[in-house]
Subunit: 324 residues, 2 copies
């Protein structure tokens, strides 16, 4: 069987992660990286191509992985590429998913392609867990915790405070809350109660540290209501200890099958690199998008529509023998 031919759109952290992930896939080959910017070269040596030339690759790429860095990128690029290619993307603005699905579904139905949307870990693997666990334990409660991990939006917000040279914000789930859920209790938890916010800040020379700390802790929407810790550190420490983009989280379903008989289903991720892991999920689902398309699927689909077997390069008989 010939390899699945992959294209990447967008060459930020996520696109670079996909480039690495495709190299680990025995049944895939990377054809080109597409970017709106003029790229000098790619890490893997495949051609860097302007997105305006993507149409030339319509017969040379089986699945295009859309690695645009924001919902804005994807809202535009999604339909543009689904008109020409099978696509996989990580559209993650939860509230806008129904509209995005409709737009991608219309385009992909017209082009006869498969558009697999909102793939990653949340939305993505976490959504899959919520679906399966909720179906198995209909009488129960979902709990989702995020972290320990870097929140890009909160880090940006801290960096905009006067006197701040650099900053990173980690969201950390409260251990006691996780333990309460894990032990089968059904605590009533708000996101504010369940998470702590830790800020690591490099201040500009002579800056008013107390003022920075107050500005952080009183920032509405971002920090008010949360237990927030502000740690001032040197630039060297920052570069040495806070260069990575770790993330992760927990999805729990705690439910009863009869009076007093409780069960807890837990799914947890501990990720050294959020973009590299997300890229690996996208890459596995590129295989599924290819197979959906081969089986005649036309239109948009989500992680909920993919038979798990299609994620693996192994045959159905191998999977039954080795993994069931």
């Amino acid at each position: 069987m010939s390899n699945i031919r992959i294209g990447i759109v967008g060459y930020g952290n996520l696109g670079k992660g996909v480039e690495k992930a495709v190299q680990q896939a025995p049944d895939m080959e990377l054809v080109a990286v597409f970017s709106r910017r003029q790229l000098a070269e790619t890490a893997s040596g495949v051609p860097a191509v302007s997105t305006t030339k993507a149409g030339d690759y319509a017969d040379k790429i089986d699945v295009m992985l859309l690695c645009g860095g924001s919902a804005t990128d994807l809202a535009e690029q999604g339909p543009q590429f689904a008109a020409l290619f099978n696509t996989v993307d990580s559209f993650d603005t939860h509230a806008k998913i129904p509209d995005y699905f409709a737009a991608m579904d219309d385009t992909a139905k017209a082009s006869g392609k498969t558009a697999l949307i909102s793939i990653g870990w949340d939305p993505g693997l976490f959504s899959l867990q919520r679906l399966v666990a909720g179906a198995v334990l209909p009488n129960g409660t979902d709990y989702t915790f995020w972290g320990k991990g870097v929140s890009q939006g909160h880090s940006d917000a801290v960096r905009r405070i006067p006197g701040v040279k650099n900053a990173k914000q980690y969201t950390t789930p409260r251990e006691a809350a996780i333990e309460a859920v894990r032990s089968g209790k059904h605590p009533a938890l708000t996101g504010t109660e369940a998470h702590i916010r830790d800020c690591y800040v490099v201040a500009q020379e002579g800056a008013d540290l107390a003022a920075i700390e107050t500005a952080i802790k009183t920032m509405p929407n971002y920090f008010v209501g949360y237990e927030t810790h502000v740690n001032f550190i040197s630039e060297e420490t920052f570069n040495r200890e806070h260069a990575g983009i770790p993330h992760g989280g927990f999805v729990f379903r705690s439910g009863q099958t009869s009076e007093g008989v409780n069960h807890v289903i837990e799914f947890a991720l501990t990720l050294d690199s959020n973009p590299e892991f997300t890229a690996s999920v996208l890459t596995a689902y590129a295989r599924a998008a290819h197979r959906l398309s081969q089986h005649g699927h036309k239109g948009a689909a989500t992680i909920f529509d993919v038979p798990p077997a299609w994620l693996s390069p192994k045959t159905a008989a191998e999977l039954r023998k080795e993994l069931l």
Copy 2:
């Protein structure tokens, strides 16, 4: 839409669990319980019917849940019922799954039915996790831990020792082994090293306790090589504290996406009742078997073949809006 009409074959712990689970499903109704034994009545009040009369129900049941208590039951009952009904079963003899699949596939193809085999949590949800996690992190290692939970086979073996009146054996994963895997280390672990065996024994009056303990700890295949604890307790304590059938376990995938960048995916179950939880998984997959059949699937299938959306009574649009 009319309800999915469910039948249960076998009325032990698993069948009784399905009876409870169907009552929690908004889109299902239980039609009858089939048994080889003469049942006086059922907890839910549905008719108790002899398995020899099952053919009379061919048009009255959409999915038959096979709750035979052992691989021996299913090896015979599986093909017998797949000749007449869509079926879901929990066939769990790993080594024989390929043969069982082939037998069920032949029968179900001939009858035009769907036979969903080896559903439960291992095989079942654990298998699903191994497949998804392995596809996302191809460069990695799987770890499975079982427990804390009751091992029926080991409990039976202890009960056969002279002087033992009653006994229960719990398999418990070693906390240090779990922590090593969870923290991203890749320990080389055997099942013997990773688990502890705890026995709770009610001795007959005047029995030689030291002899019983030695008989347990030196029992080949069952206990030799394991750290084994033997606790002698009174019959009252046994009945009060060891009446349940709890179980659970952990599936980990620890893998790298690039040099030094590690990720850990964890799935854990903590179950008050092994049979009630397994029954709930079977019931959710009965919905999927019904939909597979409605979509024209003929033959055997496994958890790997089921689009997750088909586990839920919600529509695809509801799932995208509420769970993605």
